[in-house]
Every structure is written in structure tokens, then in C-alpha cells.
Symmetry: C2
Subunit: 355 residues, 2 copies
DNA sequence: CAATATTGTGTTAGCGCTATCATAAGGTCA
DNA sequence: TGACCTTATGATAGCGCTAACACAATATTG
């Protein structure tokens, strides 16, 4: 134990400053400036020098002081995460991911709520006054073209997460919604289902259309005709799912499987099935999308597609930080795609021997 | 427009530094140091001087530069938010609140997940290496006495949120769980209910016992005997709620109202009631606790107690920041209590005219 | 081969704020 | 009244880092 007594520890830590550039420089036999260049991956440094510096950094356990860094450079890296009612589960995963990355990159993350009613100009003004460099948008805001355009026009860097239609000027991270929807539908088909209901998501979210496209492509691929009775419109809320599912279950020839565009609506479908006296999954297979908390809350637990929300938020945050560092205009916006994962739980089952 | 073209704005902003202490000092006719004292509420400054400085601050629109501040003072204010599986809805509200306060107080918030299996020592080591000053604990970790003790022994400042049993050395913010539970129960009684079921929460959370105590006190107060058949044990999960509710509904003399210790279990009770062919709220009133997302997701929506989670997180964060600033040992840990709110939705109704 | 780029590194001077000590102004006490 | 203690405020010197330029050392050119 280097430090003496418990009470003293915190203050000791406070004064026991870690090594600084100067320490590293001395050890490496270079100037502080060269160390700075190495850690910033900056300017030209001979490979040999770089190595020596890196060794010295490792040896001293040097960690740059963010405060000094941003004071000296005048850089700030302020990113606003603007959200307008994604589900709480979504938001929390999103927050965890973006926060982790922001603090790792030493960027500041401001969380702003944007009510539906608020005019874009007010939001922009708010961001301006907070001196924001970049804006991170989870759905449904990621699909608000007017907002995106306004932010871009104002010179903010923008990243969209989980959008189906990335803007050319924006960074974007999403999954292959269409592919995921095809995956689900193919699995239903492989399990013997032929009458597969679909509950569409809110049309103001671009991913809704992609999920539907995936559903239809998988059916077409299997040579199953698309029956418009089996496609119902929801808006991602539990309530809308209840209505949509009731309509599907009231059909003369009711589906043996339902693919809902998100977990809330899938959970509602479970409830609707139970009300209709159907056993899930024996008489009705149900698949959701997103793998949010409700998927494992209901009974049976939902088979669904897991979106790596935290990872997407992390990547998007990283893209923004890089864009901020690159300075104006330089970097081309990147659009990335992360892998989804099919998660099989209790709400789906193969169709029992056909009639 | 001062700034010329769009592309230039970001870089322009970067260089267009706002006013500094020096500007304010000049305007107020004092030294920079005095301005610093005013903004830090520090040392002795004559009321008259303070006023002049404050006027100058307002006039210039001065905002302290956090980087310079922490560089000069050597302070860091690093707070870790350690969570181990609170519900996503809870976590997201919690994050939003603590983040907002942290950024307002110019503190850094690190979010750490702590798996159940991870030994306390590993967590402590992790916090150490991140140079954490204080730890913010949402439930269920807020009730983990071993963890609390370990953190305190290591010299970390600690804040517990929503615990029923604040530690003497820790800051704490909670609501009056017992009072809230009494409130619910009294309302049931006032609505004519006499057979009121109770689904208890996980015993590893101290608030569970308080909620139960509130339920029992309200009954006692109304002269209603406590029937142990009406009290069932859950563990805050939907699944446990399903089991507990089924037991209650299978009772020869089944309850006309059920008070579940959280929303997940209340939602499960709704499902159980539906399965049993009971109409909610006509034949069974159900009340939850917390007002998390699921409360408005199910149908009918749940009557519940709203915990101001974001506010609690905000207050707790603030208490930690103050404690960090106060330095070692000085400040006495404060325990605060925030107001809860009874939210009436569709899952409760007065008992129809007693036979 | 001088004249000119190019490259890697060092020097200097702050960024905006606060710790610390110095100082001046006003009190107190014998 | 002078020796002393209180204040309130100012002057100075950094915190740890990087921008901007200066300067060698080498490469490139006609």
C-alpha cells in the first residue's frame, strides 16, 4: 500500500497527478511536442521516434489529460443526442452505447428531448446555444427529413441510427432491415407456415417499408402469393398491434404465423391470440423485431430479431467524433451496417403436420 | 449575419471564443480572481462587489470554460453510475436524469455495468482505474449492503437511489415507499374494496418490505384484518407476477383488487385476470408501482404510483457533486425524499354496489 | 553545386482558469 | 496609539497540453 490511511486516499489521488507529456518526453528523449504529435497521430514523426515515444507512454502509463487537451486546442467535441419518444428500452440501450463511446473518445454528450410539437427552429437554436458540433439521431427522428436538412443547413454534423434511408450528407449506422425481415419470413416458411400475417410499422419510419419489403420478398422467393388481407397496418404501439392482430385473427382463413414489425406489437399479438383462445406458439407463431425488454417480459417470450442498439449508437458516436476531428467538409459521410441476430424463444414453433 | 458562409460557420464558432474571466473582470472593474471567486461562491467577496461582478457576467453572457476550470483546479468530478439489471425503462429515465445534472454540474459520468457474477473487488478495481470519485447506485445495487460497504471502505463517495434503507455514510434519494403503498391501499379501501390482494417484490430490495408495510398499515388503519392468503410473493418480474396473480385469483374468495409491487407484476396480473375471464377493472382492480413504460403499454393502462426516477437521479448526482466539491469527510451525507404521484388510469375502478 | 523545397523536431507562448501568497484596508485590543 | 489580527482584493504563476512558428537536416532541382 502506497497510500497511508483510508480518509487520505481521495485527496491523495487528487494530487498524485499521473505522468504528463513532459515525463514521457524526458523518458523518450524527445520534446513534449513530439509526444503530443504521437498521441494525436499528427504531423510527421519518424517511425523510429514514434516507437520510442510509444514505449515511453506504455512505460509511464501516461494518459492524456482531456481538460488540458481541449483547453489548449480549443476543441470541444460536443455531441447532442436528440430524442423524441423512442421506446424507453430503446433509449436506454442507446444511451449506454453512445455514452460509453463518448466518454472513451473524450467527447461531451448532451441529451436533448425534442417534443413533437417543438418547431425545428427552436431545437436548432437550442443546439446552437449549447455550442453543439454534431447531432446524433435515434429513430424516429433519424427519419425526419426536414429536421435532417435543417441541421445540415445549419452546419451541424449529423448521424442517423437505424434509418432505412441514410441522407447523403449524414453519417448513418443501421442494420439490414430488409434482410432481417426476409430471415424471419423464410424461417416461418421453412417451419411449414404458408399463411403468414404481417403487421407493418409506422409509415413515418423508413425501416417500416424495408421490413415489409423483406417480408414480401421472402414470400415471393418461396412462390407464395401475397395476400393483402394478411398485411395490416400498425404504428409500433402495443395498442395498434392489438387492433391489427385482432383483424388478422378474425380472418376467415386466419394466419398460422404473424410477423410483427416490432416487439410491442408482437406482444400485443400474443395477448390478442390468448383472448381469441389460441395457444402460442402451438396454434399461432409470433415473431417480433428489436428484442427490447418487452420481448422477455411477456409469456411466452418472443422470438425476435435483435438489433445491436448499443453498438449502433457507439459506432454512430464514433463516426461523429471522427468527423468533428476531421474538421469541416473533409471526411465523406460513412454509412455502416451492423449485423442483426435472430433470437429464437418460445413464441414460434413449426406448423404441426399440415391438416 | 456576422459569419459569412455556411461551411465556415463551424470553424468560425470554434475560434469565436466567448467572453472570459478577463472580460468580465475588466467590465466590473475588478481582478480576474475576484470574478473567479464570485462564480465559485468562494472566499469572501463584498456583497457590493459580488453584485457588480454578477452584473458584468450577465452583461457579457459569460460562461465558464469547464476545461480551463478543471485544468487549473485539478478537480475532476468523475462519477460512476453502476447498474446491474434494473429494467430498461428505469435505467433510461435514470440515465437521462443523471446525465442532465452531470453535464450541468460539469461532472463526468461513467456508466458501468456490473454483472451479478462479478466480484466486488473487480468492480472496485475498475472504478479505481477510472479514477472515480463517487458512485451512483440505482436499485437493485442501491440495496447491496456488501457493495456499499466495500465502496465506502475504499473511499468512494456513494449515493443510493430509491433504497428503503439508506446507509449512514451514503447520500440517498428516495420516495416514501411506505406512504405510497398506503396511499394506494387507502384508495382501494375508499373505493369499497375489502379483499385486496398484494404481490410483494423481491426481498433483496429494501423498498419491497416498505411497500408491504404500507399495505398492511392501511388495512390495519381501516380495521381490515390482514389475510395472509391475500399476500403473495413475487420478485418484480412479469413471470413471477403471473404466478402470484394466478394464486390470488384461484382463491376461493378471490380479491376484488390487487396491488402489485411494480408495474411488470401488475401487467402480469392483467393478463392473468384476462385468462381467468375477468374484466379489468370491472371485476378486478389492479394497481402497479413505478409508472414505467409497461404501465401504458398494456390494456387497460395501469393505475400506478409514479416515481420521479429522473429527478431522483438528478438529485443524487447533484448530492455527489457537492460532496466531491466539499472535499473529504466534511459534508454530512444527506438523505432526501422526493414526492411520488398517484396516477389513475384504466385498471382500477370502485367496487360496484356491494351485494 | 548553390538554390530551393521538404521533412522531422524543438521552442515559445499561450488556452482560461484558479492556488497561493502578498497587500491594502479596516478593525481590535492593551 | 502602535502592535496585532481580520478581512477583501490583487498579482503572479502555473495546471497539461498544443498552435504556430523556427530551425536544422536532408532531399530535390536546374
Amino acid at each position: 500500500m502506497k497510500q497511508d490511511s483510508k480518509p487520505a486516499m481521495r485527496s491523495a489521488r487528487r494530487s498524485a497527478k499521473g505522468p504528463t507529456v513532459a515525463d514521457v518526453a524526458r523518458l523518450a528523449g524527445v520534446s513534449a511536442m513530439t509526444v503530443s504529435r504521437v498521441i494525436n497521430n499528427d504531423g510527421k514523426v519518424l517511425p523510429k521516434t514514434r516507437e520510442r515515444v510509444e514505449a515511453a507512454i506504455a512505460a509511464t502509463g501516461y494518459v492524456p489529460n482531456p481538460a488540458a487537451r481541449s483547453l489548449a486546442s480549443g476543441r470541444q467535441r460536443r455531441i447532442a443526442l436528440v430524442h423524441a419518444n423512442p421506446s424507453a428500452a430503446y433509449l436506454s440501450e442507446f444511451l449506454v452505447g453512445s455514452l460509453a463511446e463518448a466518454s472513451a473518445c473524450d467527447a461531451q454528450l448532451l441529451v436533448e428531448h425534442c417534443s413533437e410539437a417543438e418547431p425545428t427552429s427552436a431545437l436548432v437554436a437550442r443546439l446552437r446555444s449549447h455550442n453543439i458540433d454534431a447531432v446524433l439521431l435515434p429513430p424516429p427522428l433519424a427519419d425526419d427529413m426536414a429536421l435532417l436538412a435543417a441541421l445540415n443547413a445549419e452546419g451541424f454534423l449529423v448521424a442517423q441510427v437505424a434509418t432505412g434511408l441514410p441522407a447523403s450528407f449524414a453519417r448513418a449506422v443501421s442494420i439490414d432491415d430488409e434482410g432481417a425481415a426476409m430471415d424471419i419470413t423464410r424461417r416461418f416458411i421453412a417451419a411449414g407456415h404458408r399463411r403468414i400475417g404481417f403487421i407493418a410499422g409506422n409509415t413515418n419510419q423508413t425501416s417500416s417499408a424495408l421490413r415489409r419489403a423483406g417480408y414480401e420478398r421472402a414470400l415471393a422467393e418461396a412462390g407464395i402469393a401475397i395476400d393483402s388481407d394478411l398485411i395490416t397496418q400498425g404504428d409500433f404501439t402495443y395498442r395498434s398491434g392489438l387492433d391489427a392482430a385482432s383483424r388478422l385473427l378474425a380472418l376467415a382463413q386466419r394466419p398460422t404465423a404473424v410477423f410483427a414489425s416490432n416487439d410491442d406489437m408482437a406482444a400485443a399479438t400474443v395477448t390478442a391470440a390468448h383472448r381469441a383462445g389460441l395457444d402460442v406458439p402451438r396454434q399461432l407463431s409470433i415473431c417480433g423485431f428489436d428484442d427490447t425488454a418487452i420481448a422477455t417480459t411477456v409469456w411466452p417470450e418472443l422470438t425476435t430479431i435483435r438489433q445491436p442498439i448499443a453498438d449502433m449508437a457507439r459506432r454512430a458516436t464514433r463516426l461523429l467524433v471522427e468527423a468533428i476531428d476531421a474538421g469541416d467538409e473533409k471526411s465523406t459521410p460513412r454509412h455502416e451496417r451492423l449485423e442483426f441476430e435472430f433470437i429464437e424463444r418460445g413464441s414460434t414453433a413449426p406448423l404441426p403436420a399440415l391438416d
